[in-house]
Symmetry: C2
């Protein structure tokens, strides 16, 4: 078997980027034997610096630096403190960009967008679990990929490691999708379950924060922005309907009172922050995100604390539900491998 | 948009073939507009005859002939009574074969295998919801496709319209799949639910037969051959493990007594004919099909009468469950469109 060498750059070394580095090292033999691929991490960047080595960085070492609280800018012999992700992408000699930056809509996802644009203009394929650029510029990025003859994959943007987008985009071809329902966010379900158990709001948030599942800015999850962003990506990708965040009627979990949560529990129902796209009589879609009581018979009515899911209601493929049980962030991180193998496998 | 014309032959006009003809006619405008494809049915065959017209047969008319109990051999101006599927495939000028023959392992799936081999040797792509040839000759057919530079798709062989194979083959790339659990057969669950309700065995079979969901030879479903065949295909396709029917430890639903079914129901469990592939310490897989009591917490523990599902337990993508609600055979039939669009879309 001829070995194909893939030289890639990884920007963003938070939870997903670091986990990817840890696991990809363990997959080295499998990727060579099963797919004939040799992956070479030539560049990596975090918010404080970057490293580049045409002969390859060691992903295990990159992960170790991050676990120790350092910056990859201190990578021995290859790191440069203060060098940023965009400069790295622009100067790197590589085939593929993995864009795993933290979501940053406050700047219009400026850094991620810049990296993705720069990579594609250089002829690099792009894999992005970062929702930001896709929410802000879905059409532009797709057009740019086509114009440059490169591929753009983003299966990790919705519902962690669940191939929700792949399933919708590939396996529903030929169908009219009448409805999408998704529970794409974990922490909101966890918090609502605690509230239904009688835990007070501040105490519930405190526990979620202590476990590291609530972001520094909790509004992103709790007010439904995260679910809305995922719904916008699903709607653009699967329904090919050009929705934006402004099109989503959005209610966060604080809009449902603790009493309602407790009462629903007593009736055997479970609240989840449900994202919906519902086809209208004109063929368009109405989008909403709202805390919704689900009966046990609903396809997503039994989701546990670590489970996310999506339901596609179609004209010719019945009703298809997909659910992931994701005990840790590894599946989310490894969507980058899934996407990479979709491009090269 | 340039229109790509796909000339296809459909052999097998039973439940799936006939439904495909009915629905594909309604999809004509969508296929042109969304994918730039014009599908032309140039040939069709059933067990009594065949029809061929290079200018195209009308799928609606073909379906009507079958609904009226006739043979496509009587198609006005194009039909030939007594002409068989293989002769049609060998003589047709076409790009694609849809092989929707009834499963026939008594002959080693001879007719289906013959049609698929003939088509691929002529350079035709093949789409097959028929399990027979894949169970009998999985490796040979894949090698033949590669040698002839054509594509072979068979997403409809397992769990009806659920993209169980597509999800496993494409979206689990890079993973080690530690376990597959599937409930890929509807009628066995339906019968066991009736038995758990206290309905007698003969009465339960009679009802299933009257509703048209039990084959003429009920052993195929009830003794677990159907589930075993699907497990063999999943194992070969997703796990790339060369299993055959002989490798499946198989128990039919009659091996569980009515008392056990009733007792399980009382404990809140539901029996389903569960197909399992479990990784062994040597890296191989142990395959089994057996009636199994599932608790409500099992990912497939709440399947209703019209629902099938599959669970993939993986090392890096968590546990992924996919379930279909399939109220009629249309999703199963339309896997042929899904596969076709996977080749051409």
């Amino acid at each position: 078997m001829t070995m194909q060498i893939i030289r890639y750059v990884l920007v963003g070394l938070g939870n997903l980027g670091r986990r990817f580095c840890e696991v990809i090292a363990e997959k080295d033999a499998l990727l060579r034997e099963r797919y004939g691929l040799e992956l070479v991490l030539v560049g990596a960047a975090d918010s404080r610096g970057a490293a580049y080595d045409a002969n390859g960085l060691d992903p295990v070492r990159v992960a170790q630096i991050k676990r120790d609280g350092g910056s990859v800018g201190a990578y021995p012999g290859a790191g440069r403190a203060g060098w940023d992700a965009l400069s790295l992408v622009e100067s790197a000699d590589a085939d593929l960009l993995l864009e795993a930056l933290p979501v940053d809509l406050s700047t219009g996802a400026a850094l991620g967008l810049g990296c993705m644009r720069a990579a594609m203009r250089k002829g690099m394929h792009v894999v992005a679990p970062d929702k930001g650029p896709l929410v802000v510029a879905f059409r532009e990025l797709h057009d740019l990929a086509r114009a440059n003859g490169v591929q753009l994959r983003f299966d990790g943007t919705v519902a962690g490691g669940l191939p929700a987008i792949n399933l919708g985009v590939r396996d529903l071809r030929g169908a009219v999708v009448q409805r999408i329902e998704a529970v794409p966010n974990l922490v909101t379900g966890y918090v609502m379950d605690m509230l239904a158990d009688g835990v007070a709001w501040e105490e519930a948030l405190g526990r979620a924060r202590a476990e590291g599942v609530l972001e520094a800015d909790p509004a992103w999850d709790l007010d439904g922005w995260d679910a809305a962003a995922k719904l916008v990506i699903l709607t653009n990708a699967v329904l090919e309907y050009p929705a934006t965040l402004d099109d989503v009627q959005r209610a966060g979990i604080a809009t449902v009172g603790a009493q309602a949560l407790v009462a629903a529990r007593q009736q055997g129902q479970r609240y989840r922050l449900l994202a919906r796209a519902e086809q209208q009589s004109d063929g368009g879609y109405a989008l909403s995100v709202a805390p919704t009581p689900l009966s046990p018979e609903h396809p997503l009515g039994q989701l546990g604390r670590k489970q996310m899911g999506v339901v596609y209601t179609t004209d010719i493929y019945g009703v298809i539900t997909a659910i992931i049980d994701e005990p840790n962030p590894i599946p989310s991180a490894m969507t980058m491998l899934r996407d990479l193998l979709d491009i090269y496998g």
